[in-house]
Symmetry: C2
């Protein structure tokens, strides 16, 4: 089973403080870029893999999705999602994405935000997602960027002039990365961009858009903390079609 770090109380409490938890999609700086990569929502059947508090599920419905299924491994996340949702067309369900079996051609859009870098058996999950989509269906997701996940010891290096660099090493060594983000011992999977894309292509998807997200000038002006995100991409956004 996937490490269910989200049900760890420290992690859950820390997560609850993040902008993207408190403010939803508007609190996630990459959301405008993701939104541009998403198809029109009207009438679409949507699945959200790693739905967390359900912000995307509710947004999809507001944009006209006909029904939404939100999956998450964390019971605590799902309880919070239920609490925030009053819409019978949204269903939440606890699922382990390492062992997911989805119905065939049941959805028109699969979405996943910052969840797939926890998955060990990604090819099997991509196969399930592909099968669950209708012909022409979209799969749009974000993951932590391989530049961000690669290093043995993630963290900025500051030179004598105060300029920041991100230390890339171990890039070709795919697999476990243990970090202490929000809680100790969070296990993520490092993969190259090539691996992500080639797994999708081998599964039959067509690559539509690849974005190594960085903030706009306006975002940096509004939130100077985002300045460092211009130095190295933290997030990889991908849109593919069946």
């Amino acid at each position: 089973m996937t490490q269910n770090i989200y049900d760890n109380q420290d992690f859950f409490d820390g997560y609850a403080q993040l902008g993207r938890s408190v403010y939803g999609l508007e609190g996630a700086p990459e959301w405008p870029a993701l939104l541009k990569m998403l198809p029109e929502m009207e009438g679409r059947r949507v699945i959200d893999l790693g739905c967390g508090y359900g912000w995307f599920c509710r947004s999809a419905r507001e944009q006209g999705a006909s029904k939404v299924l939100g999956l998450d491994v964390s019971q605590k996340m799902l309880a919070k999602a239920e609490e925030l949702t009053t819409d019978n067309a949204i269903i939440y369900r606890q699922e382990d994405m390492e062992q997911l079996a989805l119905p065939k051609a049941e959805f028109d859009l699969a979405y996943s935000s910052l969840a797939l870098h926890y998955i060990k058996h990604l090819a099997a999950l991509f196969e399930q997602i592909y099968g669950s989509l209708s012909a022409g269906g979209y799969f749009v997701f974000s993951v932590e960027h391989p530049i961000y996940t690669s290093p043995r010891q993630p963290g900025w290096l500051i030179d004598s002039e105060g300029k920041k660099s991100w230390p890339v090493n171990n890039y070709q060594l795919e697999g476990d990365r243990v970090t202490n983000w929000l809680a100790d011992g969070v296990i993520k999977q490092h993969r190259t961009i090539g691996t992500y894309l080639n797994l999708l292509i081998q599964q039959g998807f067509t690559i539509k858009h690849v974005e190594e997200w960085g903030p706009s000038e306006k975002q940096v002006a509004d939130n100077p903390e985002l300045e460092e995100e211009k130095e190295r991409p933290m997030l990889l956004l991908v849109s593919v079609q069946k």
Copy 2:
């Protein structure tokens, strides 16, 4: 016009010492990976953009290509290519890839090795390449990886335990990078992987394979200098189809 650094005597002399110059394709450690990404060569009409000494042009013919056009901006490179070639089905021509106008549907395979990161007007060149290919034709190329081209001051950082990291910064700032590789003031263009792929997709290409090249264990055993290439990718290899 493209900066024609290859006709700079220092650069040309330095280039002549590289393994890939002396030993041809076998001297380029990424060649086995590129070869896997190339289609069957039999009967194909091939164009090589930035052909250098013409190693790939001659290899394509040996593998059965029906004719090969090798383009390069450097008169010195082309003179060397002519010197090494005795095959009337290979034609070399001096061209500035910033202002290239190619005939329509004339080729079945376009190839380019480590040349496109010198090009400023890449969308225009991709348009020419797309137009020059037959339906189903392939375009396979290598460029310096964005991780490699991004930093203000490229060069390994060594920590107190002797471990190497590559400093990524300025990643989102696309455009000129001035380095002193083989000669002073070599101007390259830094672009994100996303930009490379999205330009290809917008042009109508289908992404077939993306590889952030790293050496195999055997290559490292045979040539320990390649060890550091496991830490960060220096080369990006891409295969697309019309």
